[in-house]
Symmetry: C2
């Protein structure tokens, strides 16, 4: 009995030791695990790792206090697919079809007429005025709450025309890893998008782990309404703020009030955000995603001779500025081992 008991103790101890070693090993393995597994080794991946090391190593001259660890990410084309049209534009166009029965006049009235007729050539020529009309008709005249619910329902079922997957699955896995890696190192990650703030807020937490208060975006005028004793925020068909190009540093200042330590973009809409980020002292990470992978995603520029695009334009001048200022250009083709979670097979 006594011997049995002793054996039990030894056995228990052995199991304990095994567990202990396993835990130690596990913790160690986690610490050593590659935080960016979807990235190929190369200058882009290295730039991210070097930046995190430089800004989080205590005593380093480039150490950044946790309160100032701000990383900003453009959304369309930087965090998820933006071709063949912005997801929000797809939403707006589908909503024109949905609302058409209540607007018989649209059949004869552009830009709605072209949308309803599916006239792609006409739609491709839409300028700011036409889009403002479409946004006014599809994004306004309802409360913020109702708008969020409409977007939520749409995004839950809508699918990307080429990949035939929900848009919310078409985020770039390497960029999500970069966000998570930065967050694990005390950075707060903000989305700074030319798209609608209220649109992106609907899914920012679920898709990117970014809470709504960390979404900086374009907005229309919102009006407090209390007519019937039940307060509502009503969306008006009027632009309030365009968070694009020179608007991005302004939006960042308004919502964050601090200069980012890291900024990620992919087009001429992000140039000023990267300039603004880079003009701060110390270690700053400035990165641009370059879409050069027609097979797995899309290829467009016109930089480096790739096809021109009205959506997510990456002009040669931006490529030149990136070189001149030491911004890191991420080649989707070369730097990303995998683009999507459960990689979509391109057609």
């Amino acid at each position: 009995m006594r011997q049995h008991s002793l054996r039990s103790v030894i056995a228990t101890g052995a199991i304990g030791l095994v567990l202990f070693v396993a835990l130690l090993f596990g913790a160690n393995a986690r610490a050593l695990a590659d935080p960016l597994p979807s990235w190929n080794d190369g200058p882009a991946k290295q730039a991210i790792v070097d930046f995190v090391t430089a800004t989080t190593t205590e005593g380093s001259p480039t150490f950044v206090a946790p309160a100032d660890r701000i990383a900003t990410f453009d959304q369309d084309g930087t965090l998820w697919v933006e071709q063949p049209i912005y997801t929000q534009a797809a939403f707006a166009l589908e909503r024109v079809h949905e609302l058409a029965p209540q607007h018989p006049e649209w059949k004869k009235q552009d830009p709605f007429k072209s949308v309803l007729a599916g006239d792609r050539a006409a739609m491709a020529k839409f300028g700011e005025g036409q889009w403002a009309e479409i946004v006014g008709a599809t994004h306004a005249g309802i409360s913020v709450e109702d708008f969020e619910s409409i977007v939520g329902q749409w995004i839950a079922t809508a699918k990307h025309p080429r990949f035939q997957r929900p848009y919310t699955e078409l985020f770039y896995l390497p960029m999500l890893e970069a966000m998570q890696y930065l967050r694990a190192n005390g950075f707060r990650t903000y989305i700074v998008t030319g798209g609608g703030q209220e649109f992106v807020r609907v899914f920012s937490d679920a898709v990117y782990g970014v809470p709504v208060e960390q979404v900086v975006g374009s907005s229309i005028v919102t009006r407090y309404d209390f007519n019937d004793g039940k307060p509502r925020l009503m969306r008006e068909p009027k632009i309030f703020f365009i968070n694009d190009k020179a608007g991005k540093p302004v939006g960042i200042n308004m919502l964050i009030g601090k200069r980012p330590a890291a900024a990620f973009g992919n087009s001429d809409g992000d140039r000023q955000m990267l300039e603004w980020t880079g003009a701060g002292g110390g270690a700053r990470l400035k990165m641009l995603v370059f879409h050069d992978d027609a097979e797995r995603e899309f290829a467009y520029g016109p930089a480096n001779g790739l096809p021109d695009s009205k959506i997510g334009t990456f002009p040669q001048a931006l490529m030149d500025e990136a070189k001149q200022r030491g911004w890191t250009v991420i080649s989707m083709k070369n730097d990303w081992k995998q683009i999507f979670q459960n990689e979509a097979k391109p057609d």
Copy 2:
């Protein structure tokens, strides 16, 4: 030796026990310590404690997830003194004097002429147009960075005319305790002020422990400037957003994107913020500071027959709405044991 050893063990054990009990007692004492020592017992203090209990007790039907623990605080008159004029107005007026040598034309030109002449009667009649001119002349035409530095220098030395203490010492200690108590319970505390966002950001962290990204305020147009290769955010002499009255729920939606669980105000500028907060379900804390203590601070209404005031107006209609909707009115005189840290002696 053996007995000595045993005695040592017992002694050590006894010391250990004493330490253990002391630790338990200490922890218990801390848990039982009054988180709101500057508040007198009464319905206002009780409302805060009850709200925190209701929203943070796991399993309670009114439990609020940490991500949604948002508390918003008006600044002027709610967190610090606003009489005889708003601190920011004092800054603007002093800056008119400072800039006057560069503007000889001001001597003959109102509203500057009245300010330079110290004509209090004329200044008291200034409307929105005059103040907009003064703000344009004193708050714009410079970069955000330069503005912050000017405000920082001013606030470090400027003193309140009655209390003869720096404005930054004239925060209400009970309100700071409420903020700290809420933060200790997982709430994020935001300042939601009709005052200038950039003005308040200069001292929000030092005075209230509120980081700049949690300051929602009024703003003027800001423009990204890159003329000389060095990016700057320039402040333009044009109003962008007024974060007051019906603007407060709009500003909250823009910067936070969530309905507050708790809101604190003191005037008709805060009515809509409290309505908006109260219209959410579950436990919501809605509080109004009522300045009824002429001896220790100021007394003004015109609610409850107190003197009327253009600054921080608390009309009878607001008092009636507070009663009707169950908002808690804080009486400075009765609810606050102490108003200022190192209590200023009133003159």
